[in-house]
């Protein structure tokens, strides 16, 4: 019987940054679809991470997310990015209803010395797959968004990061007394991404 050897792939800082930024793009699309921020017909199916995921075909949203992911990749390569938060707000009242928090821990040694790490791509893909499945299953416990909503993306960076032209400083857009659910995390050995979704307490749940 042939023995199973766990093959490990070399991962560089740039590669890890690309993986994380790409993950964020797909995760944002999945959240927008599952939470009904945009109509279903504006999404198309693609194969990624061994799953059928949905990507928006709206030009505005596409360009927004592509610009976002490129900037996130830059910050990740520089080791400046601490957290990315996708905020869902009510269109009418601008009240924050949900916060999808992606916390990022960067290996400082890799950023400073350019050390190379090893981890199986399949393992990383499996971890990301688990997170995507959890995002898809979030409709079972998250409250329904009955009103029209919009989304925004916040990036928590180091204090000394230069602010690009297309970006501006903002408040944290917090939720008062939120409920929180911790999802799975994935680790490329250079960047570790933890996912927490916090949402506004439903009034019916409060009454209960």
């Amino acid at each position: 019987m042939a023995s199973r050897t766990v093959s490990k792939d070399i991962i560089t800082l740039r590669g890890s940054a690309a993986i994380v930024s790409e993950f964020f793009g797909y995760a944002a699309n999945s959240i927008l679809y599952n939470r009904g921020i945009y109509p279903e017909e504006s999404f198309s199916k693609v194969k990624k991470y061994g799953l059928t995921l949905l990507l928006t075909q709206d030009d505005g949203v596409k360009s927004f997310i592509s610009g976002l992911t490129s900037q996130l990749s830059e910050w990740l390569e520089a080791g400046k990015l601490q957290r990315v938060v996708l905020v869902i707000m009510s269109k009418a009242t601008s009240e924050v209803l949900e916060r999808w928090n992606f916390n990022i821990e960067t290996d400082a040694e890799v950023v400073e010395k350019g050390v190379i790490k090893e981890k199986s791509d399949k393992e990383i893909m499996r971890e990301i797959q688990a997170i995507m499945r959890q995002i898809a299953s979030c409709i079972t416990y998250l409250p329904c968004l009955d009103e029209a909503c919009v989304f925004d993306v916040l990036a928590y960076t180091d204090k000394d990061t230069t602010v690009p032209m297309a970006w501006v400083e903002s408040d944290a857009k917090l939720i008062n007394n939120p409920q929180m659910v911790k999802l799975h995390s994935f680790d490329t050995k250079i960047h570790k991404v933890d996912t927490i979704v916090s949402y506004k307490n439903d009034e019916w749940e409060d009454e209960e």
Partner: protein
């Protein structure tokens, strides 16, 4: 008396003397026949004896020999007697000794048996002791191994304890630093709360100003609206009057124009027959007509002014509409103001909650430091999570080691108990053996004494046996001593092990206490981690290390801009369409304004006339109907529409019988949504009337029956009276 003894006797005597001296120690009486040889005198004669003749002469020798013989005989007989006595004594002694010897031999055999039994027992005890020794050695080896294992565990536990102590010291230092930061944050929080209070007060003042301004603006707007409405109404009335005047003037103008035409026609016809007398009149007429024309032109100008004023009134109407829309907007803004007030209240509540939070969280001085503190706490929480994971892993390892140590301790305790029991049993055996040994030694001593007493009689073989037994006994004694020494060593080892066990128990108790304290710390850390995770999920951050960025051109903003653009475009389209429609209407209106006005006025007049006719006809009909009802049913009915205090409209009917004797005799009914109810008054509250009301209306539910009954009664009363 001279003794003449033969030399052999002397020799015998010397020998006897020697034998006596040799046996003198034994205390036996010296006797010439102590060696039990009787030398007869006769034989003595055969034995040439050499008497030392130096001392004796020859005659004396013969005398001497007889005396000597007699003496010798007597002495012999005496000696014989004594010898016989001694012999008997010796025989008796011999018999006694033989008996003693027999007894001794019996006893010896007994002792041999006992010695063999003792040897067997010794061998058995040796075997037991060997087995015990082997067991003890095994137990000692096992206990040594366990001791080494426990030492290893203890060393590992000590190492882990040192680690935990170090981590605990680090955690304490960390808590101290946290406390210091919390104190700093508290001072900052106080300053922040003061600044926030000031901001709140300023916001409240601004809010009150805004409210006052909005009220003032709304009152201004309402006053302006009222003014404009009044102005519009007055303008409308003026416009109506002016329109009427315009119409009248136009009619007059038409008449004047027709007159002018007639006059011109007459003038032209009159030009054929010129006459000087009428020319002055015509000139006057012309002047008059010109003046009238001039007046008519003035009136036309006034009419045009009226028209412009009408347009102005329409503009005023539009302005009124705009003012109304502004008023609606002001009302919306007022409603928004209410919402803002609600938001302000919410903010105040949040601020109080923040303040309470700041009070709860130490070392926070201002609100801006709260995110920093939260971010720091988040990082600390993450670090503590990692430490907690390590500590939990260490705790688990310690627990496993503790359990293993407990098990080993229990095993050691059981083995110690077993060893104790064995030691006790072995000590009991040792005591028993010692007692046996003591008894054996006593018997040995007694035997020794007896053997020494019987050594002379017995012989050399018994000595060897006794010596062998003594040697064996000595060997056994030595072995017993060795066993006792080994037992003492074992006891010392067991005592040492007990002491070590006590130390282990004490250490285990200390470690269990430490484990409990570590568990408490881990619970506290878990609670802190949960709090920090909640804060992390909430999205707090440290503004000293982190800044939050977002894209400038967000989709929401773009969407809003698009929507506003679309809305504005739609409004623009609508306004252009309205403008076009208004312009068309204006054109049409300008073209057909007077005709339309005339038509509308005529229609209004016709409708008014019709209305008046209908009213007159209705009044006639209703009066006829009332009279008929009164004559048929005997009641004058007066109908009156009223409103209740709650705003519900109600129709009140007041019935007065034609047979009533006074004006106070009136029945009052209320008609509301299909139901007729009687209203109590002074007349109906009378007992008779109330009784009838009770029977006919309440019980039988028939008002006509009541009224009919009342009519009959009144008629009867009237006719009787």
């Amino acid at each position: 008396m001279q003794f003449l003894t033969p030399p052999s006797r002397k020799r015998r005597a010397e020998a006897e003397a020697e034998a006596g001296t040799s046996a003198g120690t034994s205390g036996a009486a010296a006797s010439p026949v102590s060696d039990r040889r009787i030398v007869l005198y006769e034989q003595r004669e055969a034995v040439p004896f050499q008497v030392p003749r130096a001392s004796f002469g020859p005659s004396d020798q013969l005398m001497c020999t007889y005396h000597c013989r007699q003496m010798v005989k007597s002495e012999f007989f005496v000696a014989l007697d004594t010898a016989e006595k001694e012999n008997a004594e010796y025989k008796a002694r011999l018999a006694a000794l033989n008996e003693q010897l027999y007894k001794i031999e019996e006893e010896r055999e007994k002792y041999r048996d006992e010695a063999s039994f003792l040897q067997q027992e010794l061998a058995a005890s040796k075997a037991r002791e060997n087995s015990l020794q082997e067991r003890f050695l095994k137990e000692v080896d096992n206990s040594e191994e366990r001791y080494r294992d426990q030492l290893r565990c203890i060393s590992e536990l000590e190492f882990e304890i040192k680690k935990e102590m170090d981590s605990r010291a680090a955690a304490e230092q960390f808590t101290e630093t946290l406390k210091e930061t919390v104190r700093e944050l508290q001072t900052k929080l106080e300053s922040l709360s003061d600044s926030s209070d000031r901001e709140i007060n300023s916001l409240r003042r601004e809010l009150s100003y805004v409210q006052d301004e909005s009220k003032f603006s709304s009152s201004k707007v309402t006053a302006e609206l009222e003014r404009t409405t009044l102005r519009a109404e007055s303008a409308e009335e003026e416009a109506e009057l002016l329109n009427e005047q315009l119409i009248g003037l136009k009619e007059q103008l038409d008449e004047c124009l027709t007159q002018k035409g007639e006059i011109e026609h007459n003038h032209s016809s009159s030009n054929i027959s010129p006459s000087n007398a009428s020319s002055d009149d015509d000139k006057k007429m012309i002047k008059l007509l010109q003046e009238e024309l001039h007046n008519y032109e003035k009136e036309v100008q006034e009419a045009r002014k009226l028209k412009s004023s009408q347009l102005n009134s329409e503009l005023l109407k539009e302005k009124l509409l705009e003012e109304q829309s502004r008023r609606e907007r002001a009302e919306l803004e007022l409603s928004k103001l209410h919402e803002l007030q609600v938001k302000a209240q919410k903010l105040e509540l949040e601020l109080t909650s923040w303040k309470s939070l700041l009070n709860d969280i130490p070392d926070i001085g201002s609100y801006s430091d709260i995110p920093k503190k939260f971010a720091e706490l988040q990082k600390e929480a993450l670090e503590n999570m990692a430490k907690l994971g390590e500590i939990t892993a260490q705790l688990k390892e310690i627990k496993v080691a503790m359990e293993y140590a407990d098990l080993s301790k229990q095993r050691a305790e059981t083995e110690c108990m077993l060893a104790k029991e064995k030691v006790e049993s072995s000590s009991l055996e040792v005591k028993r053996l010692q007692l046996m040994l003591a008894s054996v030694t006593e018997e040995r001593d007694r035997l020794r004494k007896d053997s020494s007493a019987s050594n002379k009689d017995a012989g050399p073989s018994d000595d060897s046996r006794v010596e062998e037994l003594e040697a064996a006994l000595n060997d056994k004694e030595q072995m017993m001593k060795e066993m006792e020494s080994s037992l003492q060593e074992h006891r010392e080892m067991i005592a040492h092990q007990h002491a070590e066990l006590k130390l282990f128990n004490d250490r285990l108790a200390d470690e269990s206490k430490k484990v409990k304290s570590l568990e408490r710390e881990s619970d506290r850390l878990r609670h802190e981690v949960a709090l920090l995770e909640s804060k992390l999920g909430h999205g707090d951050y440290s503004s000293s290390n982190t800044k939050v960025l977002r894209m400038v051109h967000t989709l929401a903003v773009e969407n809003e801009a698009k929507q506003t653009i679309e809305a504005l475009q739609a409004e623009l389209k609508r306004t252009t369409e309205r403008l076009q429609a208004v312009e068309e209407l204006k054109g049409q209106f300008d073209a057909a304004l007077p005709e339309k006005l005339v038509q509308l006025k005529n229609q209004i007049a016709v409708l008014e006339k019709r209305e008046e006719r209908y009213k007159a006809v209705f009044a006639e009909k209703i009066s006829v109907f009332r009279k008929a009802c009164c004559s048929l049913f005997g009641y004058k009915i007066v109908m009156d529409d009223q409103k209740r205090p709650n705003g519900i409209p109600v129709t009140r009917f007041t019935l007065q019988s034609i047979y009533a004797q006074s004006d106070d005799e009136k029945l009052e009914f209320e008609y509301e949504s299909g139901s007729m109810n009687i209203v109590m008054n002074d007349y109906t509250s009378q007992t008779d009337i109330a009784h009838q009301i009770e029977i006919f209306t309440r019980k039988m539910n028939s008002i006509p029956a009541f009224t009919a009954n009342l009519t009959v009664e009144c008629f009867n009363r009237r006719t009787l009276c």
